[in-house]
Symmetry: C2
């Protein structure tokens, strides 16, 4: 596995590969890899001739009071895992390499980015879309893989790709969970034992929503009310949002239908966790 740190070298690699032909799969990450990331990498190596994984903790998507400074890092561990999965290139640029002094250009997807997570994290999606279009332009993949845990991110990126006429496909991959239901996230590492217990309320609340819908309940208000109860019963939880929305434009829906997205963000202690499910799916 080649480790590339400069934009120029990454572009050169892509250029060479393009001359030879063959497809390039791309998995952009912020590192501290878990099975969720690795499932994307496996999908890429199985579908594409070459796979590039990037590790870049993107400062532009963190708010001033968020966890940029404490975001977990384990470069050596990540490297080993990626090597074992036959990744071709690990792209690991510095902040300055991606955002040289004077960087001033931003991409934003309006409306979509202001809903759900965008409401409580202003500037978050603008940071995401800006770094992602840069990475796409540098790596030039045929397919880029994103996890469905960050479903709004996935939707916003798909919209950007369509709106800006980019030539790649975006593939969303299912959420990977611990056996007890907690969706994998690098931020789970922040949880102490007590908070780890409380964190199970997110997936429990989603399961409750699914069950209620399966049993005929369609009122978003009633469903969200039950979910709220499940979360609030646990220690140290503070709901950021619980939402029942359209899965592509994230507009709130009053009546649940079989494709509705149920999404939530909950602070457990100081850690903000997110999770979601589509109603009527497994």
């Amino acid at each position: 596995m080649k480790i590339i740190r400069s934009v120029k070298e990454m572009k050169n690699w892509t250029y060479e590969i393009r001359q030879e032909g063959g497809t390039v799969g791309f998995v952009p990450t912020m590192g501290f890899l878990h099975e969720g990331h690795l499932s994307l990498v496996r999908e890429s190596t199985s579908k594409c001739n070459h796979t590039v994984v990037s590790i870049f903790v993107n400062a532009k998507q963190f708010g001033p009071n968020e966890d940029l400074d404490t975001y977990p890092i384990d470069f050596e561990g990540d490297k080993k895992q990626l090597e074992s999965l036959n990744v071709d290139v690990l792209f690991y640029p510095s902040h300055e390499e991606i955002y040289p002094e004077g960087h001033a250009t931003f991409v934003s997807v309006e409306e979509l980015s202001g809903r759900l997570c965008g409401k409580s994290r202003p500037g978050f999606f603008r940071g995401v879309t800006t770094v992602v279009i840069k990475l796409f332009n540098i790596v030039k993949p045929d397919i880029a893989f994103f996890g469905e845990k960050d479903r709004q991110q996935l939707g916003v990126i798909k919209k950007m790709v369509t709106d800006l006429n980019l030539d790649l496909s975006i593939k969303g991959m299912p959420i990977i969970r611990n056996s007890d239901g907690l969706a994998l996230s690098s931020r789970n590492d922040y949880l102490n034992k007590e908070d780890r217990d409380s964190s199970l309320s997110l997936s429990k609340a989603l399961n409750k929503a699914k069950l209620m819908f399966a049993e005929g309940e369609t009122s978003a208000k009633v469903i969200k009310g039950e979910m709220t109860k499940i979360i609030e019963k646990e220690k140290n939880t503070r709901i950021d949002y619980i939402s029942l929305s359209h899965p592509e434009n994230f507009k709130e829906m009053e009546k649940a239908v079989s494709y509705s997205l149920v999404a939530l963000a909950v602070f457990v202690g100081k850690t903000r966790l997110i999770d979601n499910c589509i109603l009527g799916s497994r």
Copy 2:
């Protein structure tokens, strides 16, 4: 000359050309072509194996009280001129083709876009950079050509290309003027006889600035003061801005130096005209 109206067909053409090899030059325009545009096209056909010219009146770069509805059009005339210059493709998409319903993604270059023209035309550069990145992604040129009359636009686009790691070069070409000094612009077509006379004050004011600087004057205030007098002497003129700034970041400078940009925007009657020069150049 092929006339292409759909994004898909344009992308297919580019794809085919890329398979064959050879370079693609691109001149994006809003039509109603004059010698300024044609100088860009000639440069493209002389430097590149293939040349694509687009005609698209980009609604997103017009403000609510601007001249979108009256912007001059002469498709048949434009077509003839481009044919005679051996252009390969005229890309002539509809509004809906570029901005399908629900389009929500915008690119903005901050700071630079808020100065000079950006101050009086909020949203203008955001509209420009959004359509330009889309056109770049659709046409995928090796070189794109822009006129120096819109020098801030040229600077903003160059900055976007750098910041978003796009793979093309941007080439600025000199302002083309009438024999009496008026910089060519599609909007000159709006001027009645009286306003046409007054419009000469823009280039006169720039020449005065050059002369003053050549004779040793370096105070921006003094230079701009003399320019103001020249403009205000003429009938029906209203100064939008007169600026002496850094030619790349467009920050105002108090002291003129040999690369300073002198730029101005003036309403002559209802028509807003712009012009500029670099001090110390011919």
